[in-house]
């Protein structure tokens, strides 16, 4: 077992003066200021200590000291520890050593900051445009503070993303931007030889909504959870919770135990409905619509309950900074238990049917295989990792909300294929039911909101992770001066998992493409957060926000 002091000592002994400063204000979080020349070595050392790469955070610090800041974050799962390596570079020479050659999952984060902040990463294997639209002008970095949040550069014609060259003898099959497998606009170019997949290139980030920039410039701390919840249409509560926890950590407040219990219940309700949703979609993707219909019929019960409890089937709006918005009355708790009982009973039937169905096994076993080592190398998370023998679960490894009071199993299988993800998700749904039962039973009395009126000290860093149905969500927060975040970085689970998909696809049949991509339960919009993009062609009339408002109001009243 490493302690924070051990980590500090090891780093200090090895790197001496290249380690500028240590900071660990909240127990399990260690922030290390390091010299940018050693960032790659130190990152590799953290991995060697058992660290798992989470995400990188880039931020604009030009106004203060003419630098661009970069944070690489890691989790030591066995030790319940987050390590954040902070460094910076002058804005006129924003060059960093790329850590992607050793830690492939950092590839997207680094490309993101090439696009958004104008950083440069030496040694990056694929420094192509990732986030910005193809017609976004060169040299304009939208996450820098000089760029206003609502800026719309003129659209350009005849620009297109250059896909990677297809391997020799392969044809390119375009999947997307619109394709029934994807449900969201993204583009995969799949290179096939006959029907065997030999590679793929991905061009995504087509549905940016500019949420991070919006929240850093327009909203206040208390409004952000509602935007955070809208990052994902399926698992919104995890984002609201993760943001709120990061903020509460930075502000140094402890919320009431009852609120933590209610958060736990909401997160698990969300997991049940999300896993059932996935099960249905997975059935559809292998052409088994009966699984689809039955899983969604069972899921409907929890949707109704969600509506009764919060007013919404989804996007509950329950979790806010400082607690939750609504209490769960004893009557509702009883109803919840009854709903869970029905769902559990029906899920047992579905589980048996799926486990005994040879044709489902044929379509999922041995499909989308990657080894446990590869999974760790790519820092994959959630059921995708647990289906490949990687025993991680944020709820157990970094307990938050009321999970420290719950007893539950973390299902891990080592079949390393799509079938494993099916098994893990079904078992997790049973665990979720178990957790809610315990939470309802043990829930202490108390207030559901903790007000915090004191000003939050600016420029404090904090990080929080939550286990979403799809994997681990990470929120990194730097507090700001105007009652809003200075920098807020969201990493949804699809962000790392999608980067592992090309490895899973390799040498599989094209017919298995939908279920392999589907097996990570992709949520593309969640990965697409940062930019506001105008996609209208050059001659189109621009519609301003107030115009839109007028149009929608006119429509609303037209029917009366």
């Amino acid at each position: 077992m490493l302690t924070i002091e051990d980590v500090k000592k090891q780093l200090k002994d090895k790197y001496q003066s290249d380690i500028r400063n240590f900071e660990h204000p909240y127990g399990t979080r260690l922030f290390v200021d390091v010299d940018r020349s050693r960032i790659r070595d130190i990152s590799n050392d953290i991995i060697r200590m058992g660290g798992r790469y989470l995400v990188s955070v880039g931020y604009d610090n030009i106004a203060r000291d003419k630098t661009l800041g970069l944070v690489h974050t890691f989790s030591l799962d066995a030790e319940d520890m987050f390590i954040c390596l902070r460094t910076s570079a002058p804005v006129d020479n924003p060059e960093f050593d790329s850590i992607t050659p050793d830690i492939p999952n950092a590839g997207w984060s680094e490309r993101e900051y090439i696009d958004l902040l104008g950083m440069k990463f030496t040694g990056h294997p694929k420094p192509k445009r990732l986030i910005l639209a193809d017609d976004w002008p060169e040299g304009l970095y939208p996450l820098r503070k000089e760029v206003p949040w609502n800026m719309m550069p003129p659209a350009a014609e005849n620009v297109a993303y250059q896909l990677d060259d297809a391997p020799e003898g392969c044809t390119t099959i375009p999947i997307g931007p619109f394709h029934p497998t994807l449900h969201e606009p993204e583009h995969f170019a799949v290179y096939v030889d006959g029907e065997t997949i030999k590679g793929c290139d991905y061009r995504g980030f087509m549905v940016h909504r500019g949420l991070e920039k919006l929240c850093q410039t327009q909203l206040t701390y208390n409004e952000v959870p509602f935007i955070a919840e809208r990052i994902c249409g399926i698992c919104g509560s995890v984002h609201a919770t993760s943001y709120s926890q990061a903020l509460e950590l930075a502000a140094g407040i402890t919320i009431s135990r009852r609120a933590e219990y209610i958060r736990t219940i909401m997160l698990e309700i969300e997991r049940i409905h999300s896993h059932l949703l996935w099960l249905g979609v997975a059935g559809h993707l292998i052409g088994f619509d009966t699984v689809f219909m039955q899983a969604w019929r069972v899921r409907e019960r929890i949707m109704w309950f969600g509506e009764k409890l919060t007013g919404n089937r989804k996007t509950y709006g329950m979790i806010v900074a400082g607690g939750v918005r609504r209490d769960i009355s004893p009557e509702l708790a009883d109803e919840l238990l009854a709903v869970l009982k029905t769902i559990e009973k029906e899920l047992v039937t579905i589980h048996k049917a799926i486990a005994g169905d040879g044709s489902i096994h044929r379509r999922t076993k041995g499909v989308g295989c990657i080894t446990t080592e590869e999974t760790k190398l790519w820092s994959l998370v959630g059921p995708v990792a647990r289906a490949r023998g990687v025993d991680i679960d944020t709820r157990r490894d970094h307990p938050y909300a009321a999970y420290d009071d719950m007893t539950f199993d973390v299902p891990v299988v080592d079949s390393c294929d799509v079938w494993g993800t099916v098994v893990v998700r079904i078992l997790e749904t049973f665990e979720a039911i178990k957790i809610i039962r315990q939470a309802v039973e043990k829930m202490p009395a108390g207030p559901i909101m903790t007000e915090f009126s004191e000003e939050i000290e600016p420029l404090r860093h904090s990080i929080s992770a939550v286990e979403a149905p799809r994997g681990e969500v990470v929120h990194y927060l730097i507090t700001g001066e105007e009652n809003r975040p200075e920098r807020w970085r969201v990493r949804a689970p699809t962000y790392p998992n999608l980067q592992g998909v090309p490895a899973m696809l390799l040498n599989n049949q094209f017919a298995d493409f939908p279920i392999i991509v589907g097996s990570i339960d992709p949520c593309f919009s969640c990965t697409d957060r940062v930019m506001k993009v105008d996609v209208r062609s050059g001659t189109a009339v621009r519609v301003s926000g107030s115009d839109l408002e007028k149009i929608s109001r006119a429509k609303k009243f037209a029917g009366r």
């Binding site: 044809t171 029907e195 292998i286 052409g287 219909m293 379509r363 017919a511």
Partner: protein
């Protein structure tokens, strides 16, 4: 009067094929998937709606002619079918080779349309369709040949009626099972709807088709489905007959309905297979049908 029997053949198929499809959708929804499902007449509405739309074409002659080729071929086959255990005036002009040719022509029409559209997904779909055709057609051929071997004639009525005409021997049973197993592949349903696989290749061969052209293809598929169901009834259930033409047709239609129920249940309880997995199954089916013919040579 002779022409009347032919008209009955065509009308029964044209009018009832969409209805049976509606039954399949209803059974799938109500019995298996806990849904309400669309109205029974939905397939008619679908076709009518498609017919009323603008006809878009990929711009070449082959693309426009392809749906007509398919529809015409399947109607051509239907004309020869001895419905109600009665050969019509045209039946004697054709033999089982004609029937197999015309059925293949229908598939060729689909391939023609797919290839002429030059769409990547259509190309994948057509290569899958081709594999399916090559590998399940033998099962159909063997069914006819089984009868032909028994009676030593290639005539349609002779071979069809003689398959099970002499009772259900081992060869007939084996062939019947092989035919039923291949049925889902004949009619392009799960687990063998590989050529169209919506979530992978977006309806494959038909991706570029819309409006009236697509309506013709859809009608072709519906008729083909009913043809294979009807063929099963005529070939393997010949014993139930009254001698009255109208009553016999109705009895046969009742059996066709049962076959459709089977299609619906099989289709809704299986996921789609991959083409490489399906090929192995097709291989087994071909072997089984060959065994059946072999048995029949020895009179078993």
């Amino acid at each position: 009067m002779d022409i009347l029997y032919i008209a009955v053949n065509i009308l029964v198929f044209l009018l009832l094929a969409p209805l049976f499809e509606g039954v399949v959708r209803r059974i799938t929804a109500r019995v298996v998937q806990s849904r309400q499902g669309p109205p029974l007449l939905q397939p008619y509405y679908d076709i009518l709606k498609l017919l009323g739309k603008q006809n878009l074409s990929a711009g070449n002659f082959a693309f426009r002619i392809a749906p007509l080729v398919s529809l015409a071929s399947i109607l051509g086959v239907i004309v020869f079918l001895p419905l109600g255990h009665r050969a019509n005036v045209l039946t004697k002009y054709a033999d089982i080779v004609t029937v197999i040719y015309l059925l293949t022509m229908g598939g060729v029409g689909v391939l023609l349309g797919a290839l002429s559209s030059r769409n990547t997904f259509a190309l994948i779909g057509s290569s899958r369709e081709m594999i399916t055709m090559i590998m399940v057609e033998p099962v159909l051929a063997m069914t006819f040949i089984l009868g032909a071997v028994k009676i030593k004639s290639l005539g349609i009525t002779a071979s069809i009626f003689s398959v099970a005409g002499g009772g259900y021997g081992a060869s007939v049973i084996v062939m019947m099972v092989a035919y039923l197993a291949a049925l889902q592949a004949f009619v392009g349903r799960q687990p063998f709807d590989i050529a169209e696989a919506e979530v992978e290749i977006l309806e494959g061969p038909f991706i570029e088709y819309s409006g009236p052209n697509f309506a013709l293809f859809k009608y072709y598929l519906l008729l083909k489905q009913m043809f294979y169901a009807m063929l099963f009834v005529i070939v393997f259930i010949p014993a139930v007959k009254t001698g009255l033409y109208g009553v016999d047709v109705l009895i046969q239609l009742a059996f066709v309905l049962l076959v459709y129920v089977l299609i619906a249940l099989l289709g809704s309880t299986h996921p789609r297979l991959r083409i490489d997995q399906a090929q192995k199954i097709y291989g087994v089916l071909i072997a089984a049908s060959l065994v059946a013919v072999g048995l029949s040579v020895y009179g078993i």
